[in-house]
């Protein structure tokens, strides 16, 4: 069942012949593995399931060893072991080290495609002497504690033996007693022998499970070797960017050019980007970038924006790129800021984060200075005044000594921007750095970017947001056919890239899975959508009339609409003639309150006095600024959290399901078909989930064998929804369902929502975009600081945020 030869194909790879300190990729993998192990160990201790989670931790280390060299495994183990101190001292430290050793040994066997027995033997031979040597050593050292422990084992066994005797198992008791007594007497033989057996069993486990897990992981992420130049890989190639500032001897790998950075002006002429799978991302791109420009980069997901930015920052080769020295991360060079705030910030405190890179380059011993990598002055540790000034510019004045773990997403992203500004870059690349922020945070970031351009930097900002495109001096739109650059308002031109059904798919996917549909519209909704909406409305109305009788049992006959507003006009975009009657009530919240970590010192009230109704066939939009309790309310509605005050009633057979913001985290199985069945569950009516999937615009037969990671973000979300609907959920709660989707993905998801509404499913959408889904919502619930905003009519229904769709993320 576990063996999966296909998965192990990618595992065996030529490890890079790197020597010396870890490069950034290795560092990050080592650290993330250690963090994962630490988290697993912590959860294990908390749940009292230490052994189970120790096994999982071992698999993590094995996976690391299939991807990275020994040094990374050693560093990761050491780091996790030091952190283990926090989990209660010696025992977790030992456990972590044991997991690290056996994990590494198993990983090596898996990577080198050794046979099962060779791998297991290797693991036992490497692990056993260390483990039993250390154990015997510690037992010798702590003689009193050893005696106490052995006495205790003896006592416990005698208790067991007496029970055995009492129930007539004298033989077992007798035999066991002899074995235990002998083991206690000769503990220095018994301990290593038992540990040898355990070592083999442990190694067997690592081989069996580690092989499959690491195979899957490596297949999802691609092999870890450096990508052979000049092929383009979607992943950072380790060799190209080793900033071995401290490895004087690391001459074999490419080193940074020592010339002064001169990233702009640059020209891209007839360039073509190819994904490593062979798919063409971008063809015949031609554009210029000049100093002081604020340029937006648009184009659907998967078109190669990220790859292009990586090329411009000097991390990937690109034929047809005419540029001086990019000088990524160096002063007056190229600066880069990515999407997810939490991963942009590296230091533990604001000051340390700002010094990262700049500080490290000077703090080394003088013997390394001869490498000359940073002779251009990037090495100067920034002056405190300079840091204060930059922090002031991004609105974080006085934050120097704050811990970065206490900052919000928007603050983190601005801190990352401060890090880039500190380098006074000539070229500032932003890879959708606003995509995870709420409207307010987005505006702040865009303003900072614009200001940087005013100060002379060339800013290239990739984004899906129409308002941000409009704010740029110029927009470069990537499409499959060509790259267009326009100084006017751009979006229409991008329609050229919209080959039917192709834009949303990731590079590894093909167009077949999508049900046929009309050509994609981009930013201007054509008339056909209007028609479709009216159609949906009519359909919905007809169904409602049919179903009203059946479901009316639990409904409120007066039809007071949710939330508590006396009689709001449905803000639906339908023509006035079709004013919709309210559907039957599905979930009713009365005076609901919720306190996180209830009855603990961390108790924190996040909802108070919430009363609202969710009705079948209606869309409720829960909106409000970050931290207002939107997601908590959604979880309470979905029954994932129990309200700590008030009542939550489910009426008329309501069966809620919850779709997390990051669909990928919720899809646990390997392929879409298996996942769909797992989500629907064993009691589901067969075929219903598949039926839903095709209603939501994906062909079940074509998607069934597709790996989850080969699906685009929007497709993943639709698989998730179909699975939940297949389970029989008729109230779906979606947390920021449009986050990170491009225009086409947005359209398809909104169509899916229409389809669900038309079939009388109640939909609750959580979003910080008050104009979510182009005002599809029947009711808008606005939260502020955990309370309903008292006057719902005054809500911003009529003035939606100018941004296209939404792609914010809470936190």
């Amino acid at each position: 069942m576990v063996s999966d030869p296909e998965d192990s194909e990618l595992v065996a790879q030529a490890m890079s012949d790197q020597e010396g300190p870890l490069d950034p990729l290795e560092l990050a993998d080592a650290a993330v593995s250690a963090a994962l192990v630490f988290s697993l160990m912590a959860i294990g201790r908390l749940l009292g399931l230490g052994l189970y989670f120790q096994l999982l931790a071992t698999v993590v280390f094995a996976t690391l060893a299939t991807r990275r060299r020994f040094r990374a495994s050693a560093m990761s183990t050491a780091s996790a072991a030091v952190m283990g101190l926090l989990l209660g001292g010696v025992n977790p430290i030992m456990t972590t080290i044991v997991a690290g050793i056996f994990g590494w040994a198993g990983g090596v066997g898996i990577r080198k495609r050794w046979s099962r027995w060779r791998t297991i033997t290797f693991g036992a031979v490497v692990g056993w002497p260390i483990v039993s040597g250390a154990t015997v050593g510690l037992l010798l050292l702590f003689a009193d504690l050893r005696q106490l422990t052995l006495d205790n084992i003896g006592n416990q066994w005698r208790g067991n033996a007496r029970i055995f005797s009492a129930i007539g198992l004298d033989g077992a008791a007798d035999w066991g007693s002899r074995a235990v007594d002998w083991s206690i007497e000769y503990w220095w033989i018994a301990t290593p022998v038992v540990q040898l057996l355990i070592s083999f069993a442990y190694s067997l486990f690592v081989w069996r499970v580690g092989r499959v897990v690491s195979g899957r992981v490596n297949r999802v992420l691609g092999p870890s070797r450096r990508s052979p130049l000049p092929a383009i890989s979607n992943r950072p190639s380790s060799g190209r960017k080793t900033k071995k500032s401290r490895s004087g001897s690391g001459g074999s790998g490419p080193t940074l050019p020592s010339a002064a950075p001169q990233p702009v002006p640059l020209r891209v002429e007839g360039s073509t980007l190819t994904h490593r799978s062979g798919a063409i991302l971008l063809e015949n791109a031609t554009f210029d970038l000049n100093p002081g420009e604020f340029v937006a980069l648009a184009g659907p997901n998967g078109v190669g924006k990220t790859t292009l930015l990586r090329a411009l920052s000097g991390q990937e080769p690109l034929a047809g790129l005419h540029q001086g020295v990019a000088g990524l991360g160096r002063r007056h060079g190229t600066a880069y800021i990515g999407q997810r705030p939490e991963t942009q910030v590296l230091g533990l405190r604001v000051l340390d984060d700002l010094r990262w890179g700049l500080y490290g380059q000077t703090a080394n011993d003088a013997s390394d200075a001869d490498s000359g990598n940073h002779a251009d002055g990037a090495g100067a540790t920034p002056h405190p005044d300079e840091i204060a000034e930059v922090l002031d510019r991004v609105g974080l004045a006085g934050f120097e000594d704050r811990y970065t773990s206490d900052l919000s997403g928007g603050e983190l992203q601005r801190l990352a921007l401060a890090g880039t500004l500190l380098r006074k870059p000539q070229l500032l690349l932003s890879d959708e750095s606003t995509a995870m922020l709420d409207p307010e945070g987005r505006e702040l970031v865009v303003n900072i970017l614009r200001e940087a351009a005013r100060d002379g930097a060339t800013v290239l900002h990739a984004t899906h947001h129409e308002s941000e495109l409009a704010a740029a001096d110029r927009v470069i739109t990537l499409g499959r056919e060509a790259v267009t650059s326009s100084s006017a308002s751009p979006p229409e031109s991008s329609a050229a890239s919209g080959a039917p059904g192709s834009a949303e798919l990731g590079p590894e996917a093909d167009a077949g899975a999508e049900a046929p549909r009309q050509p994609i519209r981009k930013f201007a909704p054509p008339v056909s959508d209007r028609v479709r909406e009216v159609e949906a409305m009519l359909r919905r109305k007809a169904e409602e009339l049919g179903q009203a009788a059946a479901a009316i049992a639990g409904s409120d006959p007066t039809g007071v609409a949710s939330p508590t507003s006396p009689a709001p006009t449905p803000p639906s975009p339908a023509p006035p003639a079709f004013t919709k009657p309210p559907g039957p009530v599905a979930i009713r919240l009365t005076d609901v309150g919720f306190t996180h970590a209830f009855n603990s010192p961390w108790a924190h009230e996040s909802l108070k006095n919430i009363s609202l109704e969710v009705r079948f066939g209606e869309l409720v939009l829960v909106t409000g600024p970050n931290g207002s309790g939107k997601t908590t309310l959604a979880r309470v509605i979905a029954g994932m959290e129990e309200a700590t005050a008030g009542t939550v009633e489910r009426v008329g057979g309501a069966n809620p399901g919850f779709a997390f913001q990051h669909a990928r985290l919720q899809l646990l199985r390997a392929t879409a078909g298996v996942e769909l069945k797992a989500l629907a569950g064993p009691d589901a009516e067969p075929g219903v989930a598949e039926q839903w999937l095709s209603r939501l615009g994906l062909s079940p037969t074509l998607v069934a064998d597709r790996r989850i990671d080969a699906l685009s973000g929007g497709q993943q979300r639709r698989v998730l929804l179909a699975g939940l609907l297949g389970r029989g959920c008729n109230v779906l709660v979606l947390d920021e369902p449009l986050a990170g989707l491009d225009a086409d993905g947005t359209d398809r998801l909104l169509e899916a929502v229409d389809e669900m509404l038309a079939r009388n499913v109640a939909v609750v959408v959580v979003s910080h975009d008050p104009g979510w889904g182009r005002d599809k919502a029947d009711h808008v619930v606005r939260l502020d600081a955990g309370r309903l905003v008292s006057n719902p009519e005054a809500m911003a229904i009529a003035t939606p945020y100018p941004g296209f769709g939404s792609s914010g993320v809470e936190q």
């Binding site: 560092l27 504690l145 990515g338 590296l346 996180h596």
Partner: protein
């Protein structure tokens, strides 16, 4: 719920909060060494007394102490049962008081250390602690350990823990919200294929974050994390450390 509050500092002002993280960590290590060398009642009593004293000094509300997991209580219960039946001098009415006392010693050592570690976490933010640990490994460079590199990995580990922990939490959440049949198989009883899938998903998702982190490191143009500036050494820090190390050495040499 308890999953949310693990390793979270309680935001109150206290002398214990003001100690340097190194002090607290060294004290924990010293205490565990002392108890390892000399697991006698009087020393255990001293350790428990110290722990309670520190707990009170830290002004931690009693509510921070989580309920122990049932599986742990059950394990302790069974151990006590077998030990009691098994005997050990002195015996009273067929119950081995001596054996039970031995078990009690072992358990109280384990729980005291666990509690001490918990106090460490309750009074020190993870980031502050991480900084302390980074500083603590620096002297290792004298024995040939690439301490700067280890410091960098540690720093990134501490940065990544909330991120990864959150992703794990969502994964576990999603898992426990699956239909019933699958939940039964959660702890290793069910089809291994599913466990493998879930594990692979969690690991793969974590490594995705890892490549983002790597991108950020590259963008900084350098791999080495600066060693965080320490808090000032204060007399209390020195006093506490001397005391803890003193106990440890005494228990090893004198006793």
């Amino acid at each position: 719920m308890s999953r949310e509050v693990i390793l979270r500092p309680v935001p109150v002002e206290s002398p214990v909060h003001r100690l340097r993280p190194e002090t607290k960590a060294v004290t924990l290590v010293a205490l565990s060494l002392a108890l390892g060398f000399h697991p006698e009642w009087w020393l255990i009593a001293v350790a428990i007394g110290l722990t309670v004293l520190v707990f009170l000094l830290a002004r931690l509300p009693r509510k921070v102490i989580p309920r122990p997991p049932q599986i742990m209580l059950m394990a302790i219960g069974f151990s006590a049962l077998f030990t009691g039946i098994g005997g050990g001098e002195p015996e009273v009415g067929g119950i081995g008081i001596g054996g039970l006392l031995d078990l009690a010693r072992l358990l109280s050592i384990g729980l005291t250390l666990l509690f001490w570690a918990a106090i460490l976490a309750w009074t020190t933010g993870l980031a502050e602690l991480g900084g302390g640990l980074v500083r603590m490994v620096q002297p290792l460079r004298r024995v040939g350990v690439p301490a700067e590199e280890l410091g960098t990995v540690l720093t990134l580990t501490v940065r990544a823990i909330p991120l990864i922990g959150n992703e794990l939490k969502v994964t576990l959440d999603a898992w426990s919200n699956r239909p019933q049949e699958e939940i039964k198989s959660r702890f290793g009883l069910g089809p291994i294929a599913e466990l493998v899938d879930v594990g692979a998903t969690a690991v793969a998702n974590s490594y995705r974050r890892s490549s983002e982190l790597a991108g950020a490191i590259v963008a900084r143009g350098g791999v080495q994390a600066p060693v965080p500036r320490p808090k000032r050494w204060r007399p209390t820090d020195i006093a506490v450390m001397v005391f803890a190390i003193g106990i440890s050495i005494t228990s090893f040499i004198v006793l």
